[in-house]
Symmetry: C2
Subunit: 381 residues, 2 copies
């Protein structure tokens, strides 16, 4: 088997956000479209990145009309802003939503058309303008991944766009930026990172290169997500979770994901629910379903999450699932789809959408429509 | 502390050499300068890469005047061949020597002047043409690194050239290519990879991102270097050593190295001795010297190389040094500089050169001139 691995240049560390301007200078940029979201702007991080851009003698234009589960209209609006302001580079600074919109805008301004044209794998052909990402949550991994997830409201669908071109030029990961997140966002995004690590590790496309990243991400999150949720100023925990999220991103960007994400995208296309929470609700159910596909890998996950004192493979594997559940409980994650506000769901039609999602291809266990419906129902209440 | 990490796109796997042409096509190349060495040419791998280039409809020109410890004249000759044949891309296929010349040629053809002008850190300013590397030994890690090492005969010196620009666009790592190496080359290059892993792991510039690569490289080499030396057809061992070498390359490219390499470069500038063998002779002496700089890291190395059944930190660390010695012994590595042909060495002047080498900066223990002389003498006989 031939495995491929791609990563952006990575700048990781305390206050690394201040290297944003210098990094754009190095990429030859002159005028940067800054794609951010209102929360990050309010926390002051957007201003800090902008200051760095200006200090380097570069110009910028701010676009911050970003919502959770961003859609095609926001991408079109961002692309229009890019052209109108005559930008030649893109900064994504924010959570996964802002980063994914920034990527999608970079696609449109260099490849033309609508973002819907690029849904699926490898449909981007022209090089993008210089793209730098500064994540402000430890969860999405979008700063290093070849993914962008955009909602198409017309089809009530989260589109998965996958292309090597979507790997940013530079990922600037600054743990200090995580200190302004509240405990709810820290928990939801941290569980998203754990889901990335676990799905990438058991993915049908996992390789030795993705395994080292996934295993380290899981180890860090197993140790540091609880303290990170507990204290917004615990620097050690923020550093660990920033690294965990990025390493999980490197893992899933190259090993792709599985049923949790395929199902989560199906929900997210219809309901404006937080991606991380949905994932963490679905995760243990999908783990139980997938267990027989790779007992040894699930046993290793059990060892990492610390529930096991040895025993045979299937015992360690089952303990692992309980340990992930316990971690989610400890940080106050919701347990059912009903509890986060899902009402009268049409699971059959969502299952059809999930079955077609690009992430389902690498799920380690064969999945039929009725399996997905069953998993949705288990997760519902 | 801010850490940076760079890696090329990686294509890893059996028969991946056949993706050479397609990869150049993707980078927009039309006529490739193929930089190779006589041994690799004879083994047939150069022809296999060339066939892939031609199958993709691209043209090529072959330059194969490469020796061990290649020098400035070979780089100039390669650059002249590139221009004369109107090439627009560079393939390095071979051991570390061929890859390092290929990189140096790419520097000259795009930046002008002589390769001597680019000695040291970050002196390359213009972008290089598309560069792809296919390593045929599991040792140098040059396929993923930001290093090129070229001998300057005028100064009897191995120049260390370090720049992000030297990270190739694509590294194609094909374990099958390793099957034509004899056991001596397998041992020497494998010990080079181990030295990279160890020096990067204890480097003053090590980061969590380089640690995961270094640790995995050491684990793989600890388990698979012996069987790889024992059998040229053991596919599992070749796969493991190809991965180990590449991961050690990712580690040292970003964490840099230490005294072993600084001293080895000083020897290699004057004597045409194999780099891997010199490294493996110096390694245990330097490990003993460096031990007190990082007992916990050397203890972890002890655990990886399997010599330890627990015990306190310094005991595990010392066992680790013995275990590395035992591994080198088992695969028939030479034990003294005298035994590999060094005669009447002027250790004082070589120590001066080693002290100035770029690799010495990240050695974990402070080093004085007399320390290096003492280490050279210990390694001599």
């Amino acid at each position: 088997m031939i495995s491929k691995f791609m990563a952006p240049e990575i700048i990781f560390g305390d206050h690394s956000i201040q290297q944003t301007g210098e990094s754009f200078l190095r990429l030859g940029a002159q005028r940067v479209l800054v794609v951010s979201d209102p929360g990050v702007k309010e926390a002051g991080w957007t201003a800090e990145a902008v200051e760095s851009i200006q200090t380097s003698g570069l110009d910028y234009h701010l676009f911050s009309n970003i919502s959770t589960n961003p859609d095609t209209a926001q991408v079109a609006e961002g692309a229009a802003a890019y052209h109108k302001a005559r930008c030649d580079a893109v900064l994504g600074i924010g959570g996964g939503s802002a980063l994914d919109v920034a990527k999608a805008v970079a696609v449109i301004v260099s490849n033309g058309g609508k973002i819907e044209n690029y849904e699926g794998v490898d449909h981007i052909h022209s090089p993008l303008p210089p793209v730098i990402m500064v994540p402000t949550t430890a969860g999405s991994g979008s700063e290093v991944s070849q993914f962008s997830i955009i909602v198409d409201p017309a089809r009530k669908k989260k589109m998965t766009i996958v292309s090597k071109s979507l790997v940013p030029d530079i990922a600037i990961v600054d743990p200090f930026v995580l200190m302004t997140k509240d405990h709810l966002l820290t928990a939801a995004t941290g569980l998203d990172a754990i889901t990335h690590g676990i799905e990438a590790y058991v993915s049908a496309a996992a390789t030795p290169l993705t395994d080292v990243q996934a295993v380290n991400a899981m180890k860090l999150a197993a140790e540091f997500l609880r303290p990170s949720v507990a204290s917004h100023t615990n620097v050690e925990a923020k550093r660990a979770m920033a690294m965990a999220s990025m390493q999980a991103g490197l893992a899933f960007s190259n090993a792709i994901l599985g049923a949790v994400h395929a199902m989560s995208h199906a929900i997210g296309g219809r309901y404006a629910l937080p991606h991380g929470e949905i994932n963490s609700i679905l995760l243990p159910h999908v783990m139980e379903f997938n267990l027989i596909a790779s007992p040894s890998r699930f046993a290793a996950i059990g060892d990492i999450f610390g529930a096991s004192a040895g025993g045979e493979e299937m015992v360690r594997a089952r303990h692992g699932i309980q340990a992930v559940r316990a971690l989610a409980d400890d940080i106050g994650a919701p347990k059912t789809l009903h509890s986060v506000g899902l009402r009268d769901p049409d699971f059959e039609s969502m299952a059809r959408i999930a079955l077609e999602d690009a992430c389902m291809i690498t799920n380690p266990r064969d999945v039929a429509l009725k399996d997905i419906e069953m998993l949705f129902k288990k997760a519902y209440e």
